[in-house]
């Protein structure tokens, strides 16, 4: 962890030296050329890697502290072990994140001096806050991790508070960094010449800032969950004992559960972000959704379809280790059909790739029937029904080994089914009605669809929790007996999500086109051209591979410290095989 300290010191030095750099930059060339691969690719790759690591180390502590609280309140040591295990992963990735952040800063200062000078002229006061927050975050996480045994027992509340505090610092860091990025997309608080008009707050609180804050916060939890689950899968596949398999099966399940819970609301946050970008500048909005980036959304739809089907598949495979789940197997085919049809609708392009003959037969590049599936009304309906189905999968998984003993169970279940059906009807109704109204009204319909789905989730859970309290068990969950192919699904989910994050990052950044700061500071370098989608996908694929290579190396390093220590460490894993009945 010395590395992180050194990087911090380096960043602090650099921050104090920035005004001098800024003066120097006035006499410098606007751009320098990074050897071999060019400056843009260097910045792109490092920024994406930094973001991946940062998303991981900010996302994991959010649910790690929640799991720690669960363990603390229920006095169940398994949760405490799991939380510690999650924080250990974060801790291992901490210095790499800082190193990549510093590297990114060096690249900006060295290769994009004009751009960096401009950003400094707007955001200089925030650099100090960032550095201070970074110090605070680092030391709180250090204390949280190293103080695990020291702050146990009656002092556990202090330890939990440290976890919460580190999350608050982490979120503040995320929000601050987001202000720089979103200012580049949707600048605010500056005059025609790009100079700051009033305080820096106006530049921070730009159009895309809050939507990105929300979107990234949720996405970080999903990302953290999937990476942690992939780590567990990796350990599961390499496990030598049943006990180890049970432990990592459980860890993978929790990681995926966390990811899935947050993933359900992620499309809504993304929609809000897209809507705000449209509201800021319609040219940018059209470039993103209807213009040259439109095919990115078809790729996105395919990847998200894989995420949905993959997550559900994992839950269905997981039901095999729960005695009593056989009752629910019959629901798998209909749920799969809904997911597959939703996937098809979502992936249907509005403007299709067609040969001349096909275009003639269709009467244009819009298919007269399938073309209806290419617009947002259809896509929103599809994704909302997919979310509802995924939720249903989870509900069935949750009750797989439980039989409610409440006298009102029949009524309760009937109400639950009615609520789910009603939500599906509302979603479908507004989806169809959306074709008959103008776009402004149609956009408003998406809110009704979202509210219907979220309300159904809340109502069904509000009935489910008391209904299955004190339920009769049909057997304990046999952790560790899940089919190994489920673990590959967890790894696929993590890779897909990482890839998706890179692609969407390209969309967010690429819509600026030939601007560093949209409409304010033009990119006059030789590489100002917006790369084609194929090129971008290749870059992101390579970055994703490098990310996973680094992650595996770091996790392997983390695993080294465990060897030969079993039993001696304060956090020796508690027995999990046989699991409890109530954490489905």
């Amino acid at each position: 962890m010395v590395g992180a300290g050194l990087v911090l010191a380096g960043v602090a030095l650099l921050v104090t030296a920035l005004p001098a750099f800024a003066q120097e930059a006035a006499r410098e060339p606007a751009y320098r050329n990074f050897p071999w691969i060019g400056s843009r690719l260097a910045v792109w790759a490092v920024a994406q890697l930094h973001l991946n690591f940062a998303a991981f180390i900010l996302g994991v502590p959010i649910f790690a502290v929640i799991i720690e609280i669960i363990g603390w309140r229920t006095r169940d040591p398994r949760y405490d072990w799991l939380s510690h295990e999650f924080v250990k992963l974060t801790f291992a990735a901490f210095s790499t994140t800082a190193l990549l952040g510093a590297l990114l800063l060096f690249l900006f200062v060295g290769y994009y001096p004009k751009f960096w000078t401009y950003m400094t002229s707007i955001f200089f006061p925030t650099y100090w806050v960032y550095a201070l927050l970074f110090f605070a975050e680092t030391f709180t996480v250090y204390l949280w991790y190293y103080g695990w045994d020291w702050l146990s027992g009656s002092r556990k509340w202090i330890h939990v508070s440290l976890g919460v505090l580190s999350n608050l610092f982490g979120t503040a860091i995320l929000f601050l960094a987001n202000s720089w990025v979103t200012f580049m997309v949707s600048p605010a608080g500056v005059d025609e010449s790009g100079a700051l008009k009033g305080g820096v707050w106006a530049a921070i609180n730009n159009y895309a800032w809050m939507p990105i804050n929300i979107h990234r916060l949720i996405a970080n939890i999903v990302f953290g969950g999937t990476i942690a689950a992939a780590y567990a899968a990796f350990r599961f596949l390499g496990a030598r004992t049943d006990e180890e398999r049970a432990r990592y099966d459980w860890m993978g399940y929790i990681g995926n559960f966390v990811a899935l819970s947050a993933f359900i609301v992620l499309p809504f946050a993304g929609y809000y972000l897209g809507r705000e970008i449209y509201a800021f500048n319609q040219t940018m909005g059209i470039t993103m959704m209807g213009g040259f980036m439109s095919w990115l959304w078809i790729i996105q739809a395919i990847l998200i379809g894989v995420l949905f089907i993959g997550s559900n598949y994992y839950l269905w495979l997981g039901m095999e280790r729960i005695p009593g789940s056989e009752r629910y197997r019959k629901y798998v085919p209909p749920m799969l059909i809904i997911l597959a049809i939703g996937f098809m609708v979502w992936a249907t392009p509005r403007s299709m790739v067609v040969t001349l003959d096909e275009a003639r037969a269709m009467g244009g590049t819009h298919h007269p029937i399938l073309g209806f599936l290419g617009v947002m009304s259809a896509k929103n309906t599809a994704v909302n029904l997919m979310i509802l189905t995924t939720f249903l999968s989870f509900v069935l998984y949750r009750r797989a080994n439980r039989v409610s003993q409440k006298p009102w169970v029949k009524t309760g279940m009937a109400v639950q089914w009615a609520v789910i059906a009603l939500a599906a009807v509302i979603v479908t109704f507004y989806g169809v009605y959306g074709y008959f109204v103008e776009s402004l009204v149609r956009i408003g319909f998406s809110v009704y669809q979202v509210v219907a789905v979220l309300a159904a989730i809340v109502i069904v859970m509000a009935i489910d929790i008391p209904m299955f309290k004190g339920a009769r068990s049909t057997g304990v969950i046999r952790w560790g007996t899940i089919a190994p192919r489920s673990q590959y699904v967890l790894i696929i989910l993590a890779v897909t999500f990482t890839w998706l994050m890179g692609l969407m990052g390209f969309a967010r950044s690429g819509i600026r086109q030939h601007w560093h700061v949209y409409g304010v500071l033009r990119d006059t370098s030789a590489e100002a051209v917006t790369p084609a989608l194929g090129y971008a996908a290749n870059v992101i694929s390579v970055v994703t591979l490098v990310f996973f290579a680094l992650v595996m190396f770091i996790f392997w390093l983390g695993g080294l410290s465990e060897k030969g220590k079993a039993g001696a460490h304060g956090h020796v894993a508690p027995a999990i095989a046989g699991g409890s009945e109530d954490h489905g």
Binding site: G290, P349, G364
Partner: protein, 253 residues
């Protein structure tokens, strides 16, 4: 009946039936690109279906395993060893062989408009621009009527008298003229976007809308600014569509 219980047969049947539906039930036929996408999704769903529990997965693999190792299935094994490479080879040939037809192409359907354009020598704001003729509500019917006349004189030959993109000349063009009745065209766009497309036509398409082969003329040389706004009003009026509007609440941000 026993055969239908086999997971492998079920999987094959789902794939075949899905293919037949996609190929023959969708009219006009879905393009190959979409058909392959749908079949890819069905294949994924089928694999998930057969492997979502271990008994089913074993049942699915059993006939394949038997074909590979069962001494009694030697003849079938040999036949598959010949047929499968031949099928793959045929597929590779169909993909690689030169065809007389132009390769499929992709166009950006709604290329992003520039912020401003030059219209007859003056700067004209497209981003956030409104139709000035809508300010006087009383005059709207007059403008719509004038727009109708302009449409019939200039646009109908390609875009059709039903505004459905099926005019007299439409069949000669690729890409075909826009179908204004389609809720995915003008209903998705602001009036200023239409102004830009009408004024600048095919030659004014941005780079992202390659291959620039739209034959739409640049009407700025033939129609006045008012006439263009009038014909736009007619398009919306005659199709019953509404131009896209933007929320005003954001203006105060």
């Amino acid at each position: 009946m026993n055969l239908l219980r086999s997971r492998l047969v079920q999987a094959a049947l789902i794939l075949i039936v899905s293919y037949l539906i996609f190929q023959f039930a969708i009219r006009p036929p879905a393009p190959f690109s979409v058909l392959s996408l749908y079949m890819g999704i069905v294949l994924l769903a089928v694999l998930v279906y057969v492997s979502s529990d271990s008994d089913s997965w074993r049942a699915f693999l059993r006939p394949m395993h038997a074909t590979l190792v069962d001494p009694g299935k030697r003849a079938l094994r040999l036949a598959l060893m010949i047929v499968i490479p031949l099928l793959l080879g045929y597929y590779a040939y169909t993909q690689a062989a030169a065809k007389p037809q132009a390769p499929p192409e992709l166009r950006a359907v709604h290329p992003a408009p520039p912020d401003t354009i030059q219209f007859r020598g003056k700067d004209f704001k497209i981003a956030g621009g409104d139709n000035p003729l809508r300010k006087d509500a009383a005059a709207i019917p007059k403008h719509v009527a004038a727009g109708g006349e302009i449409y019939v004189r200039n646009c109908m030959y390609c875009h059709g008298d039903n505004l459905d993109g099926k005019g007299h000349f439409a069949h000669g063009f690729n890409p075909p003229p826009a179908n204004f009745q389609d809720p995915g065209t003008i209903a998705m766009l602001q009036e200023a976007f239409l102004f830009w497309r009408i004024a600048k036509g095919g030659p004014g398409l941005p780079k992202e809308a390659t291959p620039w082969n739209s034959v739409m003329p640049a009407w700025e040389d033939r129609l006045t600014e008012e006439q263009i706004w009038q014909v736009i009003m007619y398009l919306y009026d005659a199709t019953g569509q509404q131009p896209r509007r933007w929320e005003t609440a954001h203006g105060a941000h």
